[in-house]
Structure formats: structure tokens, C-alpha cells
């Protein structure tokens, strides 16, 4: 065993142990630990997860900093980077590239940064964040699902409303109404926004030969789909504003998929050549023995070519990048209403698709009021 192989195996074993020791959905301390241990190419992924975990513990300063860091990577243009060159090559899987996430994940990074700006009363930068998220969704491949992130448009409208830009708020709400028939724009005197994030993140799973395709699956054992909410004893009706699983699974094919398909095709051809050369050498060796065995060297060469082709085929890595942001919600529900001051009590009851109650241990509820008296209530069922 060469030293480089030994190092790799040791690293894999340590990584496996480390991952096994960490819970799938962790608090801020464990997400921060994951971030510290993460390789550079995964840093943005773990920064995003730590950002949500920090927000779930109401550590808005840390969360803001983490999302700023992640967004500088997401917004930065990656051209001619070493990681990208590796991921394009035959010998590395797509996951060798620096993580930036798929459009729905990038859009959600802007979503959380925007919420943090809203919590601090910075409506202009909140609006800029939500616009940035809408732009990321515009990179989706399927035309009919491009720029359909209605929740970001709704929050852009809300930021405009709080900032006193009535015309722009109305424009944004009109866009939402086009995507969500039946949408009712927030009342003009509304000053409290309630955001409820339910369920778990869409999962990316490798499929096809060598796991070269990404398919999306819903989170396991997180059945909550709707909620009933009471704020200061009064019921508050929330409307579903987003389905992240829908956003993830309607993204359409990616240009990089065609590169990966090329790797698969190369692997098939190389494997075929190896197999054919090996068979030919095997068959001819029988004839060669019967004919007196004078062509042994030539047959050896054919066998060697076959072996090399097989070796090349085995080392082609067509696996698609299945890293995913693990503490995103599945659905987002929103309400806006007038309210004086910070609410003193927020009660949440969760229900599954069939309307049956769902028990969740650690529902996070945070409330912020800014200097103008506008309130943000943020509820997250899974962390």
C-alpha cells in the first residue's frame, strides 16, 4: 500500500467516524464543528447549515456573518478554478468542485439573509437579498418553473411595504398573485410577518449508472405539512407560500449533466474495449496453443491493452454531486397581520397530509421587533 493510499483510507475512516458521531440535524455547536472540520470545497455547505443552526438559537449576529460568508461564495463567479477543473475531468466526481448548491439552495441562502435583515429593520438590504434569491432561481433550466419562487417575491413586496415603497410593493404582490392564485396581499396596516418553516430538506440521491444522475426525495420521518397557529390567544391563518421539494425537483437538467453523461459514455467505451480485448486474447490463446504457441508475445500485448482499458474505465468517476443543504425546510407558510408590540405567546400545532396531529420535540419560535415597531415571527419545526 502506498502512503497516499494509506492516507486516503485513514482519512475516509476518520470522516466516517466523525459523521457517525454527529446527529443528522444538529445544533449550532455541532454545525460549527462540522464547518471547522470540513474540507475547503464543502465549506460553503457547512457555513449555510451553521447559519440556519445559529438562527434557530437566535444568534442573529453569528448567523448574519455566516450567511454573508456563504453568499460571497455563492455570488462570486467561479471561472478556471482548480476544483472546477477537477470536477470536469474524468478522474474526479462532480463533488470535487466547491459547493455552491443548486438554484433552490442558493435562493434559500438569500432568503435567510433577507430574514435576518428584516429582523434588524434593514428593509433595503432585505429587499436586495430577496431580489438576489429570485435571480438565483432564474438559473433553473426548465422555462416554466424559472423564477417561480413566489415566497421570495412576497418577501420582496413585504420589504418594500415596510420601507414605504408602496408602488414597488404592489408590483411584487401582483407577481406573487400570478404564481399563487388566491393570494391575498398583506393589509396596508400589517406590521407583523409570521414565517413557518415545516418539514425537512429535499434530499439529493444518486441514481443511474455510477450514480451519475441526481434524483430528489422528500425528507424521511418529517410528516408535518400544515399548522395551526395562535398568537396571544388569537388564531392566525397561514398560507403555504413555498414548496421547496417542488422547487428542487422541477429544476430541470443541468449543463453539467451532459458532461457527466460524457464521462459515463467514455467509461462504457473503455470498459467495452477492455472486455473485448480480454476476450480476444483469451480466445486466441487457445488457437495459439493448438498452432504451436508462436504468438505468445502478441497475445500478451492484446491482453495488456485490455487490462489498461479496463483500468481506465474503473477509474472514471461519473458520480453526480449529491451534497445537499440538510437543514432546509420542505414547505414555507406565511401570514402578515397588524399587531402592536412583540407577541407574548405563540402556540403551534402541526398536522400531516391527512390532517392528523404531528408531534415534534424541538420547534423553534423566535420573535424580533425592530425600531419602527415591525415584528418578525419565525417558526422552524426541524433543525
Amino acid at each position: 500500500m502506498t502512503s497516499c493510499i494509506a492516507k486516503r483510507l485513514t482519512g475516509s475512516a476518520l470522516l466516517a467516524l466523525g459523521l457517525a458521531a454527529l446527529p443528522a440535524h444538529a445544533d449550532y455547536a455541532s454545525e460549527a464543528a462540522k464547518l471547522r472540520a470540513a474540507p475547503a470545497k464543502d465549506a460553503t455547505l457547512y457555513t449555510l447549515q451553521a447559519g440556519v443552526a445559529a438562527l434557530a438559537e437566535n444568534r442573529t449576529a453569528e448567523s448574519s456573518e455566516l450567511f454573508d460568508t456563504a453568499l460571497s461564495s455563492i455570488e462570486g463567479m467561479f471561472a478556471n478554478t482548480e476544483g472546477a477543473a477537477k470536477a470536469r475531468s474524468l478522474w474526479y466526481e462532480e463533488g470535487a468542485k466547491d459547493y455552491k448548491g443548486e438554484p433552490y439552495e442558493r435562493a434559500m441562502a438569500f432568503w435567510y439573509r433577507g430574514l435576518l435583515y428584516l429582523s434588524g429593520g434593514d428593509y433595503e438590504n432585505a429587499r436586495a437579498s430577496f431580489r438576489g434569491g429570485i435571480l438565483q432561481d432564474a438559473f433553473a433550466e426548465e422555462q416554466q418553473f424559472r423564477s417561480d419562487f413566489a415566497s421570495l417575491m412576497l418577501l420582496e413586496g413585504w420589504s418594500n411595504q415596510l420601507n414605504g415603497d408602496k408602488g414597488q410593493a404592489e408590483d411584487a404582490y401582483k407577481e406573487v398573485a400570478k404564481l399563487r392564485p388566491g393570494f391575498v396581499a398583506p393589509a396596508k396596516d400589517a406590521n407583523m410577518l409570521v414565517i413557518a418553516e415545516l418539514g425537512g430538506s429535499p434530499r439529493k440521491v444518486g441514481d443511474g449508472i455510477g450514480n451519475h444522475e441526481i434524483v430528489y426525495r422528500k425528507a424521511k420521518r418529517m410528516p408535518e405539512r400544515t399548522l395551526k397557529l395562535e398568537i396571544d390567544g388569537k388564531p392566525v391563518a397561514l398560507a403555504q407560500a413555498e414548496d421547496l421539494f417542488f422547487q428542487a425537483s422541477t429544476r430541470g437538467g443541468r449543463p453539467v449533466d451532459r458532461l457527466i453523461e460524457g464521462k459515463v459514455a467514455f467509461q462504457n467505451v473503455a470498459g467495452g474495449i477492455g472486455e473485448a480485448a480480454g476476450s480476444i486474447a483469451s480466445e486466441l490463446s487457445v488457437w495459439n496453443a493448438a498452432a504451436g504457441g508462436g504468438h505468445g508475445n502478441a497475445l500478451g500485448a492484446v491482453a495488456a491493452v485490455g487490462a489498461i482499458a479496463s483500468l481506465v474505465a474503473v477509474n472514471v468517476k461519473p458520480r453526480a454531486d449529491v451534497r445537499y443543504w440538510a437543514n432546509l425546510p420542505e414547505t414555507v407558510h406565511v401570514a402578515a397581520l397588524p399587531h402592536k408590540g412583540l407577541p407574548s405567546s405563540v402556540n403551534v400545532a402541526l398536522f400531516d397530509e391527512a390532517g392528523q396531529p404531528v408531534s415534534v420535540d424541538n420547534v423553534q419560535v423566535h420573535k424580533w421587533i425592530d425600531k419602527r415597531g415591525n415584528v418578525l415571527v419565525w417558526i422552524k419545526t426541524r433543525n
Partner: protein, 210 residues
Amino acid sequence: MTIKLFAGALAALVLAGCATPNLDNSAGRRVVYQDVSTTSQRVAGVGVESQDVVSMTDRMIRDILATPQIAGRATPPRIIIDSEYFANDSSSRINKNLITDRLRIELNRAAQGRLVFVARHYGDMVSKERDAKRNGETDKGTIRATKAKAGADFRLGGRITSLDANSAQSGTLSRYHQISFELIDLEYETIAWSGLFEFKKEAQDDVLYR
């Protein structure tokens, strides 16, 4: 011939085995100062960056000082330059104080007394000290006592706006920024001076991220 082929196969095996994907083994980089008026070679986006802040404020300073109605008055006018009425209506997240602070400070230095700057953003600080002087908590200081704080003649207003365009197919993103600066007459409500700075940036992400 056979030996060469086997040697090649062995070399390929060794090379493949030694490939260490997912390992960033770069040696790192020591801290280096970068010129704030240049684009970073390593990190760049289509938003407002340091070189844009420097360029736009430098141009506005030159323009304001070349305007006689502002900088050529016999009595230096009082001006408020802060971010209170300088709005960000763009899709770029930015701390507006980066722009207004540099504009005020560099303009103050370059004006050399031709303009007087009112520190409205420090209003609370001044009010507290004035109260302390007047209620006897502190003495009156050494310079002077005035009946009221300085009123201003002009105040900065403005807006950052942007227009985005993108191509999902090519991964190209382009952002046009238009940043307007205006000095408003605080008595007559007219615009005494206007300046505009605009730029457009375009970039294409690697095919892996499209």
C-alpha cells in the same frame, strides 16, 4: 513491446491509486494588502465592490467642488452627507455608509474650508453633551456656547438602483448599477447639484455551476 505495455499498465494503476480527490492541499496564502481601487483577482462578483466605491466617490467629489453654486459661495454652505436619504433600491446588498462616509470625509478634506459639514449622524452625541453643559453636569468647554446646533443648507439624497440580466443556458449574469447623488436645498426644496455614476458588470460562471 509486452514489457512496455505492462509497464504502462502498472504506471496507470499507480497514478490512479495516488489520485486524492476532494483534497485541497494548497499551501495557503499569507495576508497581503490589496489596492482598493482594483478588482480582486481571486474574489469578484457583479455587485458593488471597493473599486466602485472609490471611483464613484472620487468623481462626485471632483464634481461637487467644480460646482460654483455649492463650492464657490462667499460664505461656505453647510452640508449634511449621510445615508439617511440615500436609498438602496438595487439587488446588491451593501452598507450604504461605505459610500456616504467616504464621500463626506474625502470631500471635507478636499474642500479645505469651502464647505462646512454638519454631523447630523452624531446628533444624539452632541445633544447629550450640550445638555450636560447646560445642566451643570460639566463645564462649558473652551471654545464657545451657541444657542442652537448648526442648521444645514444642503443635504445629500440619492439612490442605488440596478438592472439584472441572466442567461440560464450560458450561466452569464450581468448587473447594471446606476447610483444617483443629489444635494437638496433644505429651505427651497430644489436640487442644487446632481451626479450620476453607472457601471455594468458581466460574468460567466463555470459550466459546473450553471
